[in-house]
């Protein structure tokens, strides 16, 4: 199937649905129940209908939950036929449906795998940098959001370090910068950014990154950067400023 015509479910940065012809759905967003069903199918590996109904509608009796599931499936089929396949007691997203959260996991697995060659080290575009379903309060979303956040931050930092080692400091700065923007108080992201800037020969920029982080940490937490952060710049040529005060 050509990429442009593959139906896709977007969960990062907010819910969106693209149908098989590549366009977004006409009219308003799909009803919230349809969004929740698709998100749940995309994020869960358990295809059992009973379990799905129980987790999507935990507060209502079982038969109501099943009725809700049936009517939500019906509405989904009106909106976007062919997105979901049912076989017996199982319910899954159809084979060709793309999910951006899966793309994020695949990217993270690739750039953190030591066997990946330099060619596989790519800085992700903004489509993979959004939060999972921002604002959704469901516990399964909250937990998955935090897991994906940690996965992405760690992968960005490791990617930046690998790009630095591969002599591609410009891309390393972009990767580490994405992690720093996502979490301005995260030291490991700043360490990767400092390393990338030093490798690019931009010692002044590295010191600026360090100094900004040091001040933010002091103001927010009353704490100082760890020795592994201060050590990065102590090793650089004698600058005007030393380590933390």
């Amino acid at each position: 199937m050509a990429l442009a015509t593959t139906p896709s479910v977007r969960l990062l940065g907010g819910f969106a649905l693209r149908t098989a012809d590549g366009s977004s759905l006409p009219g308003p967003d799909p009803p919230r129940a349809v969004q929740r069903l698709l998100a749940r199918l995309a994020l869960s590996r358990c295809p059992d209908r009973d379990v799905l109904a129980g987790r999507l509608w935990p507060e209502v009796p079982e038969d109501r939950a099943h009725a809700n599931l049936r009517s939500t499936l019906w509405r989904l089929r009106q909106l976007a036929p062919g997105l979901v396949e049912g076989t017996g007691t199982a319910l899954v997203l159809a084979g060709g449906v793309r999910v951006d959260a899966h793309d994020l996991e695949a990217w993270a697995a690739r750039v953190t795998d030591p066997r990946t060659g330099d060619g596989g080290l790519t800085v992700p575009g903004p489509e993979l940098l959004g939060r999972l379903l921002p604002g959704w309060p469901e516990e399964w979303v909250v937990l998955e959001r935090e897991r994906l956040r940690q996965l992405r931050l760690h992968a960005l930092e490791l990617l930046a370090d690998r790009l630095t080692a591969a002599g591609r400091p410009g891309e390393a700065v972009r990767a580490a910068g994405a992690a720093v923007r996502e979490e301005p108080l995260r030291e490991s992201a700043h360490r990767s950014l400092v390393r990338a800037r030093l490798a690019a020969g931009d010692e002044e920029g590295a010191r600026r990154v360090y100094e900004r982080f040091r001040q933010l940490l002091a103001v927010s937490l009353g704490a100082a950067p760890s020795p592994s952060m201060t050590g990065l710049l102590a090793g650089a040529s004698s600058g005007s400023r030393g380590g933390p005060t």
């Binding site: 379990v51 927010s220 937490l221 704490a223």
Partner: protein
């Protein structure tokens, strides 16, 4: 990749003759026989008939077992091996639960080097046969859940000591996800963040856990947990954002399991 007959019991029942696409349309009674054999090593016919059909006379139970075995043989030839009075899945049949238990043993065995534990933590996730409510499933589900959480915490600990902090966070977080009010899982998560020098992440994880525990159980974290972040804890917390790692509506004991439907 085809790998011979495979049985999956985590995240729902599936069986395949060659590790490929699952066999569809197996009646629940047939699924129960395969699942039971996947969980027990070599039960006698008496035992399995009694456990699977506890409410019918013995003769009926044996008849049901015979007919289920006949259907298994037709659907996936060679899956089940009958020896004398015993029944078992044939040698070489892969069962995901057995692989999970093997992974747990490897993680807990200090003689097994970390390099040989290369299965990603997402590959060992999943509830046993969700939606099944037989006693033998419920007990085994709880046992596997405890085993996995214990192993995930131990793995996170080993990864911290090996300096592999990102993976340590993922392992610890997998345990947190299984049981969001389990303190030992949150402790190792906080320690992984601290080991990486990520103070703000550590405090964020601590605060999310402390708040959830107070909300759900009206208790405070143990002294052991508080000591991890004590040097910074009189200070203001990091900016509150949409990042709480521990959600609300959750009961003390296995809210996730309790939240499922209650009868089949």
């Amino acid at each position: 990749m085809t790998t011979g007959p495979s049985v999956w019991l985590l995240d729902g029942f599936r069986v395949s003759p060659d590790g490929g696409p699952a066999v569809g349309g197996l009646p629940h009674g047939v699924q129960r026989v395969i699942a039971h054999l996947g969980l027990c090593r070599r039960p006698g016919r008496e035992a399995i008939a009694g456990q699977l059909w506890p409410d019918v006379p013995e003769a009926r139970a044996h008849g049901s077992l015979r007919s289920a075995l006949w259907r298994v043989q037709k659907a996936v030839p060679g899956l089940v091996e009958v020896t004398g009075d015993g029944l078992a899945l044939a040698r070489g049949v892969r069962v995901d639960v057995r692989e999970l238990v093997g992974w747990v043993h490897a993680v807990l065995d200090p003689a097994v080097p970390l390099a040989r534990i290369d299965r990603p933590v997402t590959a060992v996730a999943g509830d046993l046969l969700p939606g099944w409510y037989d006693d033998w499933v419920l007990l085994e589900r709880e046992r596997l859940c405890q085993l996995r959480m214990h192993a995930l915490e131990a793995l996170a600990d080993r990864l911290i000591r090996a300096g592999r902090h990102g993976e340590a966070v993922q392992a610890a977080y997998a345990a947190v996800r299984d049981e969001p009010l389990r303190e030992s899982a949150h402790r190792v998560l906080v320690r992984a963040h601290l080991a990486e020098g990520n103070l703000a992440e550590a405090i964020g994880a601590y605060v999310a856990f402390r708040d959830a525990l107070g909300r759900e159980l009206a208790v405070a974290p143990t002294a052991q947990m508080q000591a991890l972040v004590a040097p910074w804890c009189g200070r203001p917390a990091p900016p509150a954002r949409d990042r709480a790692a521990v959600p609300r509506a959750r009961t003390a004991t296995g809210g996730r399991r309790a939240a499922g439907v209650t009868a089949r």
